[in-house]
């Protein structure tokens, strides 16, 4: 990629308050098209709140969120997803009682418009669409690497595969901006490496990625830029190496460790 980087997502003076607590204060940053940007920071820094506000699960008290020219503030999550912004959840979130294939088929919701009347009348176009969707679903499962498990219940998957399924469901929705909330939490080294490889392939398809993560090794390796939050405010933005050396960032993290050592 060459030339001036274009801004995909613009977050401007975002403030989030609820229950008397200010989760995020005057947060301003951009996500550029095609980049991988990581949000890091100690627990409670406001990372997931920011995610929730961007994707419409939480109302912003102030500030603007704009994606490719469309203002996201106040839109319903389903509308935001239709604009190409799809997220995963911090707590493992799949349709546990459904098969792996069904999960993806649900994820493919935006890819197909079957009219209820056509469905009820059983028009052949509906059956054709279903077949097309099943093919696409298998593609997505193959891309992520869990295609052989397609008929199994989601709840019967191992933890690593479950998280892959989560990402697959999000991918099925056809995102141009993918927000991943702690995607490798709880994964071992092998699974994490596998995920980073999958992430690379996702990016190769041109998807912009915004990541919340605690695993510093992964953050450093895959991010183009890093945003560090502490107590609801941004304390550093820049390439990984820079942010890692930033005094405020060190203080934010070391401060915690410091307390732990004393306590």
């Amino acid at each position: 990629m060459s030339g001036i980087p274009t801004v995909a997502l613009s977050v401007d003076q975002l403030s989030i308050r609820f229950g008397g607590v200010t989760a995020v204060e005057s947060m301003t940053f951009d996500v550029r098209e095609g980049e991988a940007l990581s949000l890091i920071g100690p627990n409670g820094a406001g990372k997931t709140s920011a995610f929730n506000a961007i994707t419409g699960y939480l109302a912003a008290a102030a500030g603007d969120i704009v994606y490719r020219g469309a203002r996201l503030n106040g839109l319903k999550p389903s509308r935001i997803a239709a604009l190409g912004v799809v997220r995963t959840f911090q707590k493992t979130s799949v349709f546990a009682g459904r098969s792996v294939l069904d999960n993806i088929l649900i994820g493919l919701h935006l890819q197909s418009r079957q009219h209820p009347l056509a469905i009820i009348l059983g028009l052949p176009s509906v059956a054709r669409e279903e077949r097309r969707l099943i093919e696409k679903a298998r593609e997505v499962l193959h891309f992520v690497g869990i295609e052989p498990r397609k008929h199994e219940l989601a709840s019967s998957l191992a933890y690593g595969e479950l998280r892959l399924l989560e990402v697959a469901v999000a991918l099925a929705a056809g995102p141009t901006l993918l927000l991943l909330d702690e995607p490798v939490a709880g994964m071992n080294a092998v699974e994490t490496a596998g995920f980073m490889e999958t992430l690379a392939r996702i990016r190769a398809r041109g998807v912009t990625v915004l990541l919340v993560e605690h695993d510093m090794k992964m953050v450093m390796r895959i991010s183009d830029r890093v945003v560090c939050l502490n107590q609801g405010r941004i304390i550093a933005i820049g390439p990984p190496a820079e942010v890692q050396r930033h005094p405020d960032v060190i203080r934010a993290y070391l401060g915690e460790r410091h307390v732990r050592v004393e306590g």
Binding site: K76, T88, S93, R98, I106, H109, I120, H151
Partner: protein
């Protein structure tokens, strides 16, 4: 295997009037069939979409009343000097009106359900049914109140000059209800196994995840409510033209409860569930009646049964049977290239 069983079952159902001569038994089957259709429609809203709507009898009753009023004709003052009249219309048209108006009410409830969720929605639906009942009871001019609408004409299909057939009597009505039940089943099955059905199930299972992939909550809640209400309205209309009398008692909460029991015990969220539940709770009372067990005792038993089933087999009979079946089949792993049953 499944197709064979279904075909055999259908053949059996079609053959019943050939070897059952008791009008009483046919009557019981017809009523059971009508309630089963209503239960299937409730299952769509309650079982598949996860909306606990306890006012379902309202749609059924509205369908019955609309169909009756349109086929009988009516004259009512909407204001002291504004008389609205309608001449009697053909019954098939009345039934279409019943479906349309019930569907509209479903649309209204669907839109409300989006704003008013969870336990409050339950209260709204119960209240809605009660209000409709009280309106039917008190708006004498339109509904004859407790005096009931009488002499409702039966459905007549005709092609002028070629033939005319009225569904009078047990046997024709049995087939009418059977056909209607099959149509209802097919409509619901198609919906449930489609993208729309998956969306409804997704909303029930994990709403935040569903919205994150673009499923609009209102759209599918409303769709589910409309189809559910329309089918219930059709059942009500069929009921009206069969028993030919309709009174406000049709809106009693106990009928909603009956439908709920059918769905829950049979298996909510499955296609076969309400049918199993419908058959059990439609036929059981009659079977018990011959044993001369007092109806109150029966209801006590139903209440207890519901508690037991909901506690032990929360998904109902059909899913429990299905699980038991697949557990047995799990010894020989099979390649099934189908989606999991909804």
């Amino acid at each position: 295997m499944k197709r064979l069983a279904t075909a055999a079952f259908l053949a059996f159902l079609f053959s019943i009037p050939l070897w059952v001569s008791s009008l009483y038994v046919l009557h019981v089957l017809i009523i059971t069939g009508i309630f089963t259709i209503a239960a299937m429609s409730l299952n769509l809203l309650l079982g598949y979409t996860g909306q606990l709507s306890l006012g379902h009898v309202a749609f059924f009753g509205i369908g019955a009343y609309v169909s009756s009023l349109v086929s009988l004709g009516f004259a009512v003052h909407l204001a002291p000097d504004w008389l609205v009249t309608l001449d009697p219309q053909p019954v098939w048209l009345a039934i279409i009106w019943a479906i349309a108006i019930s569907g509209f009410c479903g649309w209204a409830i669907g839109r409300i359900s989006f704003k008013v969720r969870g336990a409050y929605f339950v209260i709204v639906t119960i209240s809605f049914a009660e209000v409709v009942r009280l309106v039917a009871l008190n708006w004498d001019e339109l509904t004859q109140g407790p005096m009931a609408l009488n002499n409702i004409p039966p459905l007549t299909l005709s092609i002028p000059g070629l033939f005319e057939f009225s569904f009078i009597g047990k046997v024709p009505n049995y087939y009418l209800v059977l056909m209607a039940a099959i149509i209802a089943y097919v409509v619901i099955a198609r919906l449930v196994n489609s993208q729309a059905g998956r969306a409804m199930i997704a909303l029930r299972e994990n709403e935040p995840l569903a919205t994150s992939v673009g499923i609009e909550v209102t759209r599918y809640l409303v769709l589910s409510a409309v189809v559910s209400a329309a089918i219930a309205g059709m059942a009500g209309a069929l009921y009206a033209q069969y028993v030919q009398i309709v009174d406000p008692n049709i809106f009693l909460f106990i009928y909603t409860v009956t439908m709920v029991i059918m769905v829950v015990v049979g298996g909510k969220g499955t296609l076969a569930g309400p049918i199993v539940g419908g058959l059990i709770f439609g036929l059981l009372p009659e079977a018990l009646r011959s044993l001369e067990i007092r109806p109150e005792l029966q209801w006590v038993a139903y209440g207890v049964l519901m508690i037991v089933i909901v506690s032990i087999l929360p998904s109902g009979i059909v899913p429990a049977l299905a699980r038991w079946w697949t557990d047995r089949a799990a010894r020989a792993p099979s390649q099934r290239d189908q989606q999991t049953p909804a």
